[in-house]
Amino acid sequence: MNKVVKNVYEAIDGIADNMTLMVGGFGLCGIPENSILALSKTKIKGLCCISNNAGVDDFGLGLLLKNKQIRKMISSYVGENAEFERQLLSGELEVELNPQGTLAERIRAGGAGIPAFFVPAGYGTEVAEGKEVREFDGKMHLMETALKADFAIVKAWKGDTLGNLIYKYTANNFNEVMATAGKITIAEVEELVPAGELDPNSIHTPGIYVQRIFKGENYEKRIEQITIKLS
């Protein structure tokens, strides 16, 4: 059971044209920087990326957009990226927008063997188009379906050699849920420790979900909006 890979290139080995990837992070917070950067240096194209956001022009998934490696995004909010807008308007890029909670739950369902479920979000809006509508307890709901990916790529704070992961603060966001829904899940971590060093009561992602793990390097951790209190 050897999940620890040598470097990021070994980690992303097998990702190929037209695959579906899940990529963790919310905005630029908690994104798998090393893996995205490495992917941007490959010729892989036609990717469908499931990610809450699409990065900014020169960081995060923006790097893959710039290279035209992404064919389709499944996201909830994609507003911080001029190249994204250009490709969308020109028809080069396909976008499927999901309510954020529906997106998260579809991913959970994918990992949890639940092919479909009902939620109230989006009823009466354009999100409902083409979806089954059903009333429960006097309230209208949409049927939503599970999302899975060929690869899920997540970033954690601490990980162990068996693939157990712990996320820090709001850098968890989509990482924990996406880790459950990849056929292969790649985890890059800030700290890689031997099995047994993490508190077994505090594991966010049990190792069963992680097939490959490595210690990432040179985390930039760019902040979109630094807001401070003048005190």
Binding site: P99, Q100, G101, P120, T125
Partner: protein, 217 residues
């Protein structure tokens, strides 16, 4: 005098009860946190995965791993809890958040809200707004009453909807309105704003019963 953004936030803060769990949207709603009285204990939920948002950090406490749903750096309070997005929206969808405060482009007299998409403009996405409005126990909208002279308090929304029959109360720059089965019930006027001005600025059905008090701050 129409209220400025901070005053709208200040008025909305009065709606918050001790012990409430509250989700504040981006923009004016974020400002509401500045006006919650110190004797009112409130826990703020951030849909990216935090219960217990604290004030903005001082320079030396900025942490890239600690942001709110508006992607601003924040801190957390004592007794906070972090969780992933699926659990955050399970909390929201399950109706555990007492109050959601968010902005809007338009609200209809049925309580429909349009807040995410303007035809002809770049579509950024709905983020968590559709989840929040479809499930919150109580929804208060912070918005401008009009835009370039056009009412945004409407019979029917003209823009793509975020949710239907969900808004409970609206605080605009000139009025506080309650969404009732029969239309918008005028509850309060901004200081110095007349009932007639509000009538003229409101396209949807407005219900005016008795004397309408001025907002108090």
């Amino acid at each position: 005098m129409a209220l400025d953004k901070n005053q709208i936030a200040q008025r909305i803060a009065q709606e918050i009860k001790d012990g409430d769990y509250v989700n504040l949207g981006i923009g004016i709603p974020t400002l509401v946190a500045n006006y919650i009285p110190s004797n009112v204990n409130v826990i703020l939920q951030s849909e990216n995965g935090l219960l217990g948002i604290g004030p903005f950090p001082t320079d030396d406490k900025v942490d890239a791993d600690l942001i709110n749903a508006g992607k601003q750096t924040i801190t957390y309070v004592k007794g906070a809890a972090f969780f992933d997005s699926s659990r955050s929206f399970a909390m929201i969808r399950g109706g555990h958040v007492d109050l959601t405060i968010l902005g809007a482009f338009e609200v209809s007299e049925k309580g429909d809200i349009a807040s995410w998409k303007v035809p002809g403009k770049m579509v950024k996405g709905m983020g968590g707004a559709m989840d929040l409005v479809s499930s919150a126990k109580n929804i208060i909208v912070a918005m401008q009453h009009t835009n370039k002279g056009q009412s945004k308090i409407l019979k029917n929304c003209t823009l793509p909807l975020t949710g239907v029959s969900c808004v409970k109360k609206i605080v605009t720059d000139i009025a506080v309105l309650e969404v009732t089965e029969n239309g918008f019930k005028l509850l309060e006027r901004a200081p110095g704003v007349t009932v007639e001005e509000i009538i003229n600025s409101t396209e949807g059905k407005l219900i005016i019963e008795g004397e309408i008090p001025e907002m108090k701050f």
